[in-house]
Every structure is written in C-alpha cells, then in structure tokens.
Amino acid sequence: MTSKKTKLPFGERVKREWNRNAIVYIFLIPVLIHFVVFQVYPFLLSFYLTFMDWKVIGDPEFVGLKHWQYFLTDKLAWKALWNTVMFSVYYILPTMALGLILALIINSGVKSARFFKGVFFLPVVTSFVIIAGIWGWLFRGTDAGLINYIISFVGIEPQLFLSNSSQALAVLAGLSIFKVGGSTMIYYFAGLQSIDKQLYEAARIDGASAMEIFWKVTFPLLRPIHFYVAITTTIGSFQIFDSAYLLTGGGPNYATTTIVYYLYEQGFTGLNLSYAAVLSYVLFAIILVISLIQRKYLGQESKHY
C-alpha cells in the first residue's frame, strides 16, 4: 500500500492516488453502474412486481398478496414443480454416473484420450437447438424413429416417447444427460488426477482387486467432487427450459411443463408478468437453499484438510 498519513498537499495526494489507482476508478465505476442497472434494480423491481398487477398499457395496480395466494392454490404451478423434481430424479444421478465413467475411461491411459475427451465434451458447447433437433428425430414416436428401430431388434414395441406423457420427461432428461455429461467428466477427471498414485500402490500391495480399489479408495476420495457436481446439476435441473420449449411445448398433458417453462408461458405467452415474477421468486428460493447447503457443506469439508 501507499505510504500513509504523509502531509502532502491535497492536489499531490490526488495525483499520487490517481497514478496508483486510476484503473480502479476508470473501470470499476461503470461496472458498478451496470451492476446496479442490470442486476440489482431488476431484482428489486421483480419483487415489487409480485405485489402489482402489471398491464401491457397503463400503470400497474397494487394488489397485495393476490399473486402469492394464487400460487399456493395453483395446481399447475405445483405440477410444474413436481415435474421439475421428477426431471432432477431422471437427470442428476445418471449425469454423475456418466461423467464418472467417462472420466475413468479417459484417465485409464487409453490411446487417443485427448481425442475422445473432445468428443465427449462436444455436446457441452453445442446449442440446445441443434441437439434438440436431432433428438426429436431420433426419438420419433413412429416406426421411422431410429431409437424405435434399434429397440425393435430386442423385441420392444415402438414407443411414443415425446407424445407419451409418462415418457416425455425422461426423454428430455436423456437429452440433458447427453449434453452435460462431458462437463461432469471434466470435474471428475480433475478429481482423479489429484488422487495420490501411492494410495493405489498401497492398496494393490495389500492385495485389493481393481473393483475394491475403485469402491474403497477412488470413490470415497472423490467425495468433494460428487458433492460439487450434485449441487451444480441440481441447480441446472431446476432451470431446465430449452428442451421442453423446443421439443414438447410443455406437453403432452403438461407432463413436461417445468417450473421455468411454466414461468415463460405465464409471463410471455399469457403476459401475466406479475405472476411469472412470483414463480421466478419461488425458483430463486429453491436455488438459494441448494446453494446455502453447498456453502455450509463445503465450509465443513475444507476443515478436514
């Protein structure tokens, strides 16, 4: 830090501060303004909005807790929440398992590991629109769908997939698993690389089999990563929207109406922005709770080291 409490004249002190910290003032001030305008203000405005009836034309009207009360009795909103929870069930563990398997393969010293790492990561950088487009054709609910064609070889009848209200959500989860597995792989790969090789050596000398080494050494040592990946995929699953919008439009029979899809429909198809704001605060509350659990747990975890 600069030498403090010198009795330099004011002008000199300003000049010195400018020399040392000009960059702070030049960049931080516009960023703070931007932050207030595009993050803080909208956040507060949205909360205010939940107590108002917003209209396309004219001033909003104060309605108190009307929208919040409506949420409590809105069966569709609770169905959307339930669908989102079910999506998480289909999505979280398979994504973690796929990521771990991919990382184990890449880490096992196979040839062309770099190439395959790229292949597995490719869907992560590809737009949802592209993948959904292909996915929609793969899972066509007729004989002409490739997946139906493949399962016909093992004697399974053609399925309706996206048009079946009990299958559609799982097909969308499958799309997300395919899209996100590669980034989960990267976390697990980093975790695997940080494990001390001597631990494997020691276990092998003790006569442990490859399976035992995995379940008793590798898997428990990856615990911080399991936890981190579980949290991020959970948060991601509550924000799922793109695939439902692109492939099913929330249907059939609201089976794929997730919380964000319902929010979108209420707010931007129905122009009921105030109620959409209530839904967005519900989403925020859920994500906040998950994040706080993460903070608390990660705090404890780091004490062990």
């Binding site: 040392r20 949205s46 490739l146 490859a210």
Partner: protein
Amino acid sequence: MLKKVITYTALFILGFCFLLPFVIMILGSFKDVEFAQLDPLFWIPDEPTLKNYLYIMRDGLFVRWILNSVIITIIPVASQMIFCAVLGYIFAKKQFPGREAIFWTFMAVIMIPQQLLIIPKFIMFSDFGWINTYWALIVPELWGIMGVFLVRQFLQNIPNDLEEAAYIDGANDIQIFMKVILPLSVPVVATVGTFSFISNWNDLFQPLIYLTQEKMFPVTLGLASMLGKEGNFGIEMAGSTVSFIPTFLIFLFFQRYFTEGIQMSGLK
C-alpha cells in the same frame, strides 16, 4: 488384459454414441429426404445433394440470422475479455476501500437465476425501446462476474514482485496492467472469451423474450422457428450444421481453455 478390453469396448461404444448425433446431422444435411421419411436410416444419403443448403440460403434470412448471431456474440466477447481482465486484476491486486464487500456482493448475485431477472428486464427494455434491437442482447452481457472471478483466481496465484518492481521504475497502474499483468493473463482471458462466445452464440432464452421480428433473430432462435415450421429433416440438419460450424471451430482451437476454465470455476 480383461480390464483393457472392457475399457476400450466402453470407450468405442460411448464414443460412437456421442458422435452419432453429429454424424446424423452432417450426413442428413446432404440428403434429399422427402421420399424417404419412413426409413429409420433415412439420414444416410444415397445421392448427396446441396439442395438443403441452397434452400436455406435462398432468401437471405438465414444469412441474416448468422450475421445477427455474430454481432450479438462478438461485441460481448470482446468487452467481456477487457472488463473481466481489468476487474480480475483490480480485485486480485489493488487496494481500495470496499474491495471485498463489492466483490462478494457480485458473487452473491450469481445465485439469482437469469429467469428471475428476465421479467423485470423485459419491462425495462420495453421502456428503453430496446425490444427487437441488438441492445437488449448486447448491453447486459458486456461483463460478467464469472469471468472476473476466473481472472481474480488466476492472478492471486501470481506473486506481486513484478508489479512492485514496475512501480519502483515509475510506471503507473495502467502501464503495469498493459505491460506486466495482461501478458501473463492471456490464457485465462482466452478462457473468458471462449466461455462468453459459447454462451452468447447458443443462448435461446433471452432472444426468445426480447425479439419478435424474424429478421432480428440470432441463428439459435431462427433454427428453433424452422424446427417447428419446415418439418423437413434435410433442411433442419443443413441449418444446424451451418450454425454448428462457428462453435465447433472455437472448440477445436480453444478446447484447452474450456476444460481448464471449467476446472478453475469449480474447484478452487
């Protein structure tokens, strides 16, 4: 030996499954599909044709979508790289009142889902007259807290000696940033740039909310409108392939920065 067989079998099966959708996309884009819709292997072209590509280029709308995507991607990418580099430096190395408070306020805001902010932003942008303009998609993305966080993490691990030496030589902080800090930060700034590119190029939700005029659409939204309308596999796949090329090239050249960035953002 057995372990090796299992590993390689799994590798090839999974590799095949991950590549197949992309193979279907590219092969399908060369297929004249109208007469073959009932065949599950319809995406294999028997007589490759450029018909689908010519079709999407026919009226200039698709080209316009690509151009829109380029505009709403390139400007935020450039700005993010500059602002995140400088702010990461400020929060890692500079001393000023409120530094920690400001940084952790920024970090706390990450927990607010974008879907919450988009509703009030829609109202604000309607007032600003930003609906159906590039402004709504460019201005909010000019910097990002995640990028600042990445650069800060990176610079915190670099000792202060170089900076101190430069101060003693009489350099001011802007010179120090340009000549000492920036050259060191090239990899992490590249990471910020690649992340920003992918998230802006692929974004569907914000364009969907802020844009209603077809000619303003980025390619994601344009393609989404085609998926509903065309019902023609070959044309959809041609559109997908064209919009995939920029992300693929970025990925091909900057793959390292992606994976390193993901690791840095998650595991401190």
